[in-house]
């Protein structure tokens, strides 16, 4: 007889260990065990059969791999935890004996130092691994950087988070590696590409984070601990890779004055921040003697102008035009049915040149921190803002003639509804009455910056003017798949070959139906020609249309059919109405004693039917072809194809609906313009 095997000596019972057992084995407290697991990346596991894995009757047990826990026994951090525990006991004893100074000395000299360096190296063997896991780290750290300090979240932690985050942002700014950004209702999404890795993170809006009791702060603090270490190492590596010194110089005073990004000074081989330096010296001069009279200021300005320092605005413009020539090739599909390849994102050079020639001024009501970061990451060197938003601006003066763009987000108010501006003190920056426009600069709403960044080119600023109804802010990550409706592209680019014409014909038929009632004789029209013209116009963007010609034709149309316009405007093209009309016509014909089928609808109907017949025939042929091909496929492949076709049809139907809606809208607009 074979040897009787004892229960619980092999298999799942051996491979898994419950949390309580693990804590006992490691001889640490449960909170320490949690921290250790977070640091080392040991996660709870799930045995296939819980009953076989443990002998406990409680269903809520958490399991770990026994081997993981066994490996934790080697961990140097474990010894540190034990040291801490021992020291805490000594301190408690000293305190109990009333030897407070002893306790203080013990704490000061013998407290162990917890370093996570080796853990970082162990968990992320290569730098790319670390970059891949940066999403979570950045999201958490940016979140903690905006939290208000409380007893759960000490201000030191927040300051540390802010520092590492700003340092990371500085790297992105210098290398222009920010790619996309999206204003969502939760916060602002950013995407950067570092060494070929796409990193996405979410930054909350300012001052909206509530600290509530559902979150375990001890655990979050452990994560923050780990991630700050990780990010500082990553920053170190990134900085040294571009020849910068890490950590960068940090000016505590200007940070206290709300300078945020500007509180850091990068030092290294290839850092040139000439315009910044000039401005800062100037600002300092203004700060030191605030009583400087206006004349002196004017003189200084004149001197600066004479020295040619303000010509910096023009020079990078030329550079930008030069740089834009060497762009990456885009993947153009060779054939219309070919797969659309993911287009390459713009290169760092492109990104760096987007806002380079401009000088921005951020008004008080616009979010300064994200705007400054994005503008600077996309090449803008000169960003100014109101003095209340903190230090570090290129200029605090709203009337500065060098400003080319101003970002405003206030509603247009009627003149006189605002209180008069208090007279500016002598020497202070001149106040501008809110709502006034300074000539020579472009006023835009903040969304313009985001949309420009996501499109990779400068968009029309007049669409984003103050008080204008903004175009929708689209997510840069939602790529329209083939056949789906894309609001960004024009109608002509995405519709099927015959779609526009067919739609046009439908309209025509209805139009003619309507006209039938008043003047049934006047229906000699070049339908095909006309419809073609219309479809071209519907596309709007197709090159090569002679405006004059089409206009003249349109005029002709107008003369011929005054009813078209009405129809288009009213947009009453419901089916039941058409049916009603039909019935009406029949009745009329009957009353006149004519056979109805010989009516004037005949012609257009025939044409329409001919066209649709053609389309239908083509479609049938295609279907047959497909059916034949399907027969040859294996069952599995056929299933897959069917699945694909089904989903494709669904999206294309939806898209067609949306397109028809848009076509109607555009037509309505055109009619309105006429």
């Amino acid at each position: 007889m074979a040897k009787i095997k004892k229960k619980g000596t092999s298999g799942q019972a051996k491979n898994y260990i419950t949390r309580t057992q693990a804590v006992r084995k490691l001889q640490i407290s449960l909170p320490d065990f949690r921290r250790l697991c977070i640091f080392k990346g040991i996660y709870p596991r799930e045995p296939r059969n819980k009953k076989k894995a443990s002998r406990t009757s409680t269903p809520n047990t958490t399991f770990y791999y026994t081997k993981d826990i066994q490996y934790l026994l080697h961990e140097p951090l474990l010894n540190k935890f034990r040291d801490q525990k021992a020291l805490a006991k000594k301190i408690a004893r000293s305190l109990g004996r009333g030897e407070v100074s002893d306790a203080a000395r013990l704490e000061k000299n013998h407290a162990p130092k917890l370093t996570l360096d080796h853990v970082i190296k162990e968990r992320y063997p290569t730098f790319i691994d670390a970059l891949r896991d940066l999403d979570d780290a950045l999201s958490l750290l940016f979140l903690f950087a905006t939290l208000p300090s409380s007893d759960h979240v000490p201000h030191k932690t927040i300051a540390l988070c802010q520092r590492v985050c700003h340092e990371f942002q500085h790297y992105l700014i210098t290398t222009n590696s920010l790619r996309k950004s999206f204003l969502s209702i939760k916060g602002i999404y950013y995407q950067a590409t570092i060494q070929g890795q796409d990193i996405m993170w979410l930054v909350p809006y300012r001052f909206v984070q509530r600290v509530n009791g559902d979150v375990d702060y001890r655990i979050m603090a452990t994560f923050v601990d780990f991630y700050t270490t990780l990010l500082s190492f990553v920053n170190f590596r990134l900085y040294s890779s571009i020849g910068l010194r890490y950590p960068p110089k940090f000016d505590t005073r200007s940070d206290e004055n709300g300078a945020e990004l500007a509180a850091f000074t990068l030092e290294g081989r290839n850092v040139t921040e000439a315009p910044k330096a000039i401005e800062s010296s100037k600002a300092k001069a203004i700060d030191t003697n605030k009583e400087v009279s206006k004349e002196v200021q004017a003189k200084v300005d004149k001197v600066i102008k004479a020295a040619g320092l303000d010509k910096t605005t023009d020079e990078p413009m030329a550079d930008a035009t030069e740089e834009s020539n060497d762009a990456i090739d885009r993947f153009e599909p060779a054939a219309p049915e070919a797969d659309t390849l993911p287009q390459p994102d713009m290169s760092g050079k492109d990104a760096g040149a987007l806002f380079a020639p401009f000088t921005f001024y951020i008004s008080r009501e616009a979010p300064k921190a994200p705007l400054e970061f994005i503008l600077r990451a996309f090449g803008c060197k000169r960003v100014g803002w109101d003095a209340v938003m903190g230090d570090g601006a290129f200029t605090h003066d709203e009337t500065d003639p060098r400003i080319t763009h101003q970002i405003v987000d206030r509603p247009q108010l009627p003149e006189g509804s605002l209180p008069p501006v208090p007279a500016a003190a002598e020497g202070a920056t001149p106040k501008v009455k809110p709502g006034t426009r300074i000539p020579g600069r472009t006023y835009v709403q903040p969304q313009w910056v985001w949309d420009c960044v996501n499109d990779g080119k400068l968009l029309r600023a007049d669409l984003y003017g103050p008080g204008a109804t903004l175009p929708p802010h689209l997510s840069p990550w939602v790529k329209a798949s083939r056949g789906a409706y894309d609001p960004r592209a024009s109608l002509a680019e995405q519709e099927d070959e015959d779609e526009a014409e067919l739609a046009e014909e439908d309209d025509e038929a209805e139009d003619s139906d309507e006209e039938m009632e008043d003047e049934p004789a006047a229906v000699e029209k070049p339908v095909a020609e006309e419809s073609e013209d219309e479809s071209v116009d519907g596309g709007m963007d197709i090159a090569g249309t002679d405006d004059d010609e089409s206009e003249s034709e349109e005029e002709d149309e107008e003369e011929e059919f005054p009813g078209v316009e009405e129809e288009a405007a009213s947009e009453s093209d419901d089916d039941d109405e058409a049916a009603r009309n039909q019935h009406q016509r029949e009745l009329e014909a009957e009353a006149a004693g004519l056979p109805f089928s010989a009516g004037a609808t005949d012609e257009s109907a025939k044409k329409k039917s001919a066209k649709s017949k053609k389309v239908a025939a083509k479609k049938r042929q295609e279907d047959e072809e497909l059916e034949r091909q399907k027969m040859m496929m294996s069952r599995k492949k056929r299933k897959l194809l069917e699945k694909m076709m089904y989903s494709n049809k669904k999206t294309s139907d939806e898209a067609a609906k949306l397109r028809s809606k848009r076509r109607k809208l555009e037509k309505g607009e055109k009619a309105g313009q006429k």
Binding site: Q70, E107, S139, L140, W201, V215, D409, Y646
Partner: protein
């Protein structure tokens, strides 16, 4: 040369009248004297004031030895003075007594304890107590040694191998187990890993395209309606349950006296509750049994017939049905096709989370309702709580077990006992 700096004047000039006041009688003796002295100097070898200083002076760097000796003989210094005279250029320490200072002379105790150099302030004391309680003393000497952990040149420390001990078994290297590399178990219903930051839905833009937003709204609306329906159902059930309980408690077999009639003046008879009136089941006769049997058989037959009819009807329109089934299957396949992507859906979680007593927290609604839809960034009211969101993400990624933070620690149970000391007495006489 003369010392006077006045203008040249005549000889004594008591009056300005007469020949004596004439210019030619001006007194120039001083000038003449000066000229004579100049001549004398030139005779003696040149004017001293015009000579360079090198010709006039020499630098005596050695000093006169004799003079020194004579002076040393005259004033002989003490050895102590000599030693004391060797002063440092650095000023001496200030020997003044300070009233409020931590510095003491080391002999006299300071007046207050605060001046002791090992004094611990109240704040520090409280902190120490806290540290001792939480057992987490950490060195405050910042660990700011930054380096590049991924650098190539990080060489392994070479271990010296002593040839004398080469017979010893070398210690095994610590090898991380394979299981350490396993990804955490995602809580998504489809079991796919959940990303740390999900791609935002197009409808969550602050200024969305209407269609996207509407789609999102519909989706969430349906979910909310479902949840509300469920809640109402639960509520009804709960009410029913409560009602039943209350009923059961009310008539717990007791006889209710007819209060109403008692008040009206006549008393009803002794009333039994309904359930007491119930008769006990009587024994069935054979015929009854047979009857029941027959009826059951008939019922069974009818059921079977019905089923058969249904089946036949189905068989008739089999083509149609298969088509329908196909459609349904496609639909389902399409549904599952939606999560063909690598990412798991964080909104639909699997039914049973592993470990822990609590389910992961609900995902709050992240949607701008129609009345709050704004097209200006300034007016945007942000939705959701990112802190909760991060915490939840960690849980549903499977990195943490879901748990509620302990806000108030459980206290030890108190057991109250009576002391018998005062009662366990003995009367001495007995």
């Amino acid at each position: 040369m003369s010392t006077s700096v006045d203008a040249p004047q005549q000889f004594k000039q008591p009056s300005r009248k007469g020949k004596k006041a004439w210019r030619k009688n001006v007194d120039v003796t001083e000038v003449q004297e000066g000229l004579r002295q100049l001549k004398d100097a030139e005779i003696q070898g040149g004017l001293i004031s015009e000579k360079p200083s090198e010709e006039l002076f020499i630098l005596d760097t050695t000093g006169d030895q004799q003079v020194r000796q004579s002076i040393a003989k005259k004033h002989k210094t003490l050895k102590a003075d000599e030693i004391i005279a060797q002063r440092s250029a650095i000023p001496a320490l200030d020997g003044r007594k300070r009233m409020n200072s931590n510095i003491t002379d080391g002999v006299i105790e300071p007046k207050t304890k605060k001046h002791k150099n090992d004094w611990v302030s109240r704040k520090d004391y409280l902190r120490l107590k806290q540290v001792a309680k939480e057992a987490n003393p950490i060195s405050k000497k910042g660990n700011n040694e930054l380096h590049d952990p991924w650098a190539d040149d990080a060489e392994e420390p070479t271990v010296y191998e002593d040839p004398r001990f080469d017979f010893l078994v070398k210690p095994k290297a610590k090898v991380a187990p394979e299981t350490l590399k396993h990804a955490p178990i995602s809580l998504a219903a489809n079991g796919k890993p959940i990303p740390a930051v999900r791609m935002p839905h197009a409808g969550t833009s602050y200024n969305p395209v209407f269609e996207d937003w509407d789609k999102l709204l519909q989706e969430h609306g349906e979910q909310a309606v479902e949840a509300e329906k469920k809640r109402l159902e639960e509520e009804l059930k709960e009410q029913e349950r409560q009602r039943l309980i209350a009923e059961a408690q009310n008539n717990d077999g007791e006889v209710k006296s007819d209060d109403e009639s008692a008040w009206e003046g006549f008393e009803s008879e002794y009333e039994k509750p309904e359930w007491l009136n119930k008769k006990r089941p009587e024994r069935k006769t054979k015929t009854q049994r047979n009857k029941i049997k027959r009826r059951k058989e008939a019922e069974r037959l009818a059921k079977w017939e019905e089923q058969k009819a249904k089946k036949d009807a189905q068989a008739e329109r089999i083509v149609e049905l298969t088509e329908l089934a196909k459609q349904k299957e496609l639909e389902r396949a399409n549904e599952s096709d939606a999560d063909d992507s690598e990412e798991g859906d964080e909104t639909t979680l699997r039914r049973k989370p592993f470990g822990g007593k609590l389910p992961p927290p609900e995902k709050p609604l992240e949607l701008v309702l129609p009345d709050e839809l704004q097209d200006s960034l300034r007016l945007l009211k942000p939705e959701g709580n990112l802190l909760d969101d991060r915490f939840r993400t960690l849980i549903v990624q499977g990195k943490l077990e879901s748990r509620k933070p302990i806000t108030q620690a459980r206290k030890a149970k108190k057991k109250i006992t009576e002391k018998w000391m005062s009662k366990d007495f003995k009367v001495p006489g007995f």
